[in-house]
């Protein structure tokens, strides 16, 4: 079965081609869709919102993109149960549009950080992480200015899927690159079909680039869709 994955492209999105390559490598059929062509999203099996700087991150990262017809469409599809993965700016769009709880704000250092980090896989019972082991430590790069997760009131810890950790999987303050609440790197929606994460799995999709732990995230999703 051919799995089609829709990749929305907003003005300023810049990881769409990287995600396209990774999704293809993982075995699915990717489709980049310009934000004006949002109706094309109806035809896909799952959505990956890529990173970048939609609308140059003006106001707040993801804020303007979250209020476009494209995002409204994605939200409707997610409400119908379609899996949606938001990476970096994609995660920011997800929280800004209310598809995920909380907010993402300026890093503790007030600087942009590009760095490879270790992550602990807290949950492997999601469509996006089923190919990892629970508690497994994986490596991926982060690259963001606004990645500090702030919970909204009544935050449910069950939603945490990925945490920044050291190479042994200890969730320490030192391992927290941006000051996120509880070292949160990725969370899932209550319905468990929308995942947002700050690290870039598509940049860790090939050993030549420094690691391939990220590729399994796309493979997980594809396997889930095939079932």
């Amino acid at each position: 079965m051919v799995v089609t994955i829709g990749i929305p492209v907003y003005p300023g999105t810049n990881c769409d081609v990287d995600v396209y390559k990774a999704v293809k490598l993982a075995g699915a059929s990717p489709k980049r869709i310009w934000y004006k062509d949002y109706k094309e999203m109806w035809k896909v099996d799952a959505i990956v919102i890529p990173g970048g700087f939609s609308y140059a991150d003006y106001i707040r990262a993801g804020a303007i993109a979250a209020r476009t017809k494209m995002t409204e469409t994605i939200k409707e599809l997610a409400e119908d149960g379609m899996p949606v993965l938001g990476i970096c700016n994609g995660f920011q769009v997800l929280v800004e549009s209310g598809m995920l709880p909380g907010a993402l704000t300026v890093n503790k250092s007030a600087r942009f950080i590009c760095r490879w980090v270790y992550l602990k896989v807290v949950r492997n019972d999601t469509p996006f992480t089923q190919l990892y082991d629970e508690g497994e430590v994986i490596r991926m790069p982060i690259a963001h200015m606004e990645g500090r997760y702030i919970p909204s009131s009544g935050f449910n810890k069950r939603l945490i899927v990925l945490q920044y950790a050291d190479s042994c999987g200890n969730v320490t303050e030192d391992a927290n690159p941006n000051g996120s609440y509880m070292n949160i790197a990725g969370i899932i929606s209550a319905r468990e079909n929308v995942l947002g994460l700050m690290p870039h799995p598509e940049r860790a999709s090939e050993d030549a680039l420094g690691g391939s732990d990220g590729l399994r995230m796309f493979k997980s999703l594809i396997e889930y869709l095939r079932r």
């Binding site: 810049n14 700087f53 140059a56 003006y58 600087r111 950080i113 590009c114 940049r203 999709s205």
Partner: protein
């Protein structure tokens, strides 16, 4: 003629122009001639030396100097465009705006060749760290590059950062961009009756007199007065501009393309048609404006950012427009090309400019007197050496040497998923296909050039050559940026000439042609001038399977030193920490040795006989070994006997040297191939033991790491 319009012309040039034209130009015409005759646009003071010393031939050169960027072939059907540019003056006044628009400009240079921008590099030179102004420069420049480069989705993958008081008032911001070319789009148009489409940002009053500003020395007054020369970048528009342009190229709709940089619309139009032997009619009313009541001369010379000029056939116009509309980019058909060699500008129904193209594009060469600096740099150097331990820690902590992670971590160096060797190594490697990669480095040796400009220029080329070699690359070509002082100052002009001469000779000797470059003069202020600073951007070709990094990989492997060490401390980091900069002879470039050693090191890498490689440069052998140990988190034990005094051996910055980490079983072969010597081994302990004659360092690696990884 209003004086504020004409800033670059001498009286002599003015009368030449009147004679050639047979009449007095009007105000608008004067303004156009003026920008075209500025140093920044015309290279009038530098062209003669560049022609004389820089020749660029080579099997793999596809486009040499003179275009928006150089293009080389690195494999059968892989073409790479690259170019470097300075944004020194704007960055001195507005570091954030200056560096970000520098990035925007160099990216559009690459774009205008029809190439897809895939990487950026930055060479930064700042003043003393104990000056408030230096911090104003550093923080603004780095943030400017980060905010702009990251947003447009082009990774900033490498660079260099150096410090000296000569840059206090005149920091240098040189940025380079690399692109992949599918089909070259010329910047020259030779077809009359093509539509000229201006697209991108609207035109505002910003950047008026930018070129003149870049062609003058800086003083307080010029800073205040030249406010309008400063521009602010708009990365969102730039990103859309890139995407739209790439789509236009891929559908074959571009006849010619130019970015609007220095000299604005005037320069873009006259160079595009002028070099193609035709002319153009411009309808100025059609230019989309950001501000009301802009005068024709302001519209013609504004340097507002993020604008491109495209020539396309009228048949394809509709398709071009639909692409621009898709990306919400402003556009206007502002004119057409004509067979007559004239630039005609119409405004409000009247013809306001009618100039022969030649007057705008054929600017006569200007010569200035030169005067050698008579300084005896071979001056005897005698001093009591402090302890090696203390010196090593000081050198590692010196901002010229210490890790630049805190800078490159603010740049997205991963986007586009090509960065195989990340910043922090000797050169960056970008993956082009699963086999072929490009190695890239930026280097300068201004500290040597401050003592001997000729030898320093050669040194910058040699260092770049070694950095490419060290990652496993075969050096291919150069683009360069020469930063110097006021050409009217005979010593500055001599330094400039010596720099060009050194660059030219070295490039020829190493068979690494110069395919493009940029000159930035007038880096002088009342408090002094900069050291002549040649920044070399070199590209090499690598096989992705045979790449190397400098971090030590294993314990109990052997460290091999390749290359000879001389008493060459002049311009070294060691003398700098001792407060003796200016004494001693600078490292000499020995072409033959440099080439042989490079070839031999590459051979060892390709045969899989080495685990890590680092070239020896700033801080000498001991620093190179320390960096390898710090990056690889491995202990080392080194013991060397030398005829030189121990500290001199340890810190000499002689060229043509490398440190290799070699597994036991390959040591014999590696020594045979390279003629190197085994100097020690890696160990499982966490200590750094380095002994040379009766000098010795024995420190925990952690101590060195603390010094090296200093963060600001």
């Amino acid at each position: 003629m209003r004086e504020y319009i004409v800033r670059n012309l001498t009286d002599d040039e003015k009368s030449k122009i009147i004679k050639k034209l047979g009449r007095n130009p009007n105000d608008v015409e004067w303004a156009m001639i003026d920008v075209m005759w500025s140093e920044h646009v015309s290279y009038k003071s530098s062209r003669s030396f560049i022609r004389r010393f820089l020749r660029s031939s080579g099997r793999h050169v596809v486009v040499g100097p003179g275009q928006d960027a150089g293009i080389i072939r690195i494999a059968d059907d892989i073409y790479i465009a690259f170019k470097i540019e300075s944004h020194n003056h704007p960055s001195a006044v507005d570091p954030y705006g200056g560096s970000s628009t520098g990035i925007g400009g160099i990216v559009r240079d690459i774009l205008s060749m029809g190439a897809q921008p895939i990487a950026l590099l930055d060479s930064l030179h700042f003043g003393d760290l104990d000056k408030r102004r230096t911090w104003f420069h550093i923080l603004g420049v780095v943030k400017g590059i980060s905010d702009y480069g990251n947003r447009i989705g082009v990774p900033t993958v490498g660079g260099e950062t150096k410090f000296s008081s000569c840059y206090n008032e005149n920091p240098l911001v040189n940025v380079a961009c690399i692109g992949i070319v599918n089909r070259i789009v010329p910047s020259v148009l030779n077809k009359p009756d093509s539509a000229l489409v201006l697209y991108g940002n609207r035109t505002g009053r910003d950047g008026i007199h930018g070129v003149s500003f870049a062609s003058e020395t800086l003083d307080e007054e010029s800073i205040e007065e030249d406010r309008s020369a400063v521009q602010i970048g708009d990365p969102l528009t730039e990103k859309l501009l890139i995407d739209a342009s790439l789509e236009i190229f891929s559908r074959g709709l571009a006849c010619a393309l130019k970015d609007l940089g220095g000299g604005g619309l005037t320069c873009a139009v006259s160079e595009m048609v002028g070099k193609g032997g035709i002319g153009a009619v411009i309808e100025l009313d059609r230019v989309p404006l950001r501000e009301e009541n802009m005068s024709p001369y302001e519209i013609l010379i504004s340097e507002s950012q993020e604008r491109m000029l495209l020539a396309t056939s009228y048949d394809n116009l509709e398709e071009v427009i639909s692409i621009l509309n898709k990306y919400d980019i402003q556009w206007a058909v502002i004119g057409r090309s004509i067979p007559e060699r004239k630039i005609i500008v119409k405004y409000k129904g009247k013809k306001i400019v009618d100039l022969p193209v030649e007057i705008l594009v054929n600017v006569p060469i200007q010569r200035h007197p030169t005067k050698p600096r008579t300084k005896d740099f071979s001056k005897d150097l005698k001093f009591e050496p402090p302890s090696l331990e203390e010196s090593l820690v000081k050198v590692l902590r010196n901002p010229n040497v210490s890790s630049k992670e805190w800078i490159y971590e603010q740049y997205d160096y991963e986007v586009q998923t090509r960065t195989v060797i990340k910043p922090g190594a000797d050169a960056t490697v970008l993956k082009i296909t699963s086999e072929v990669g490009v190695a890239a480095t930026l280097d300068s040796c201004a500290d040597y050039a401050s003592i001997d400009p000729y030898e320093g220029a050669k040194g910058a080329v040699a260092e770049a050559y070694r950095n490419i070699t060290a990652v496993g690359g075969e050096p291919l070509a150069i683009v360069d940026n020469i930063n110097a002082g006021d050409p009217n100052n005979p010593i500055s002009y001599w330094e400039f000439r010596e720099t060009v001469r050194g660059l030219g000779n070295a490039a020829r000797a190493f068979s690494v042609p110069v395919v493009g470059g940029n000159v930035s003069l007038y880096n002088e202020s009342p408090s002094g001038k900069i050291w002549p600073t040649l920044v070399v951007c070199m590209l090499g070709k690598v096989n992705i399977r045979h790449i190397m990094t400098p971090s030590l990989k294993k314990t109990n492997s052997i460290l091999v030193l390749v290359g000879d060490t001389y008493n060459e401390l002049g311009g070294s980091e060691y003398l700098k920490i001792l407060g003796l900069h200016g004494y001693g002879s600078v490292p000499r470039v020995r072409y033959k040795k440099e080439k042989t050693n490079s070839k031999n090191v590459l051979r060892c890498i390709r045969k899989g006989m080495v685990l890590s490689v680092h070239d020896v440069s700033d801080g000498g052998i001991i620093t190179a070994v320390a960096e390898m140990a710090i990056m690889g988190k491995k202990g080392i034990e080194v013991a060397i006997r030398s005829n030189l005094r121990g500290d001199i051996f340890a810190f000499s910055e002689s060229h043509a040297r490398y440190i290799l980490e070699v597994p036991e079983e390959h040591v014999e072969d590696v020594l045979k191939i390279t003629g190197g010597i085994a100097i020690g081994k890696t160990s499982s302990s966490s200590s750094f033991y380095f002994e040379v004659n009766d000098f010795c360092v024995d420190l925990p690696i952690r101590r060195l790491e603390e010094a090296y990884a200093i963060r600001w």
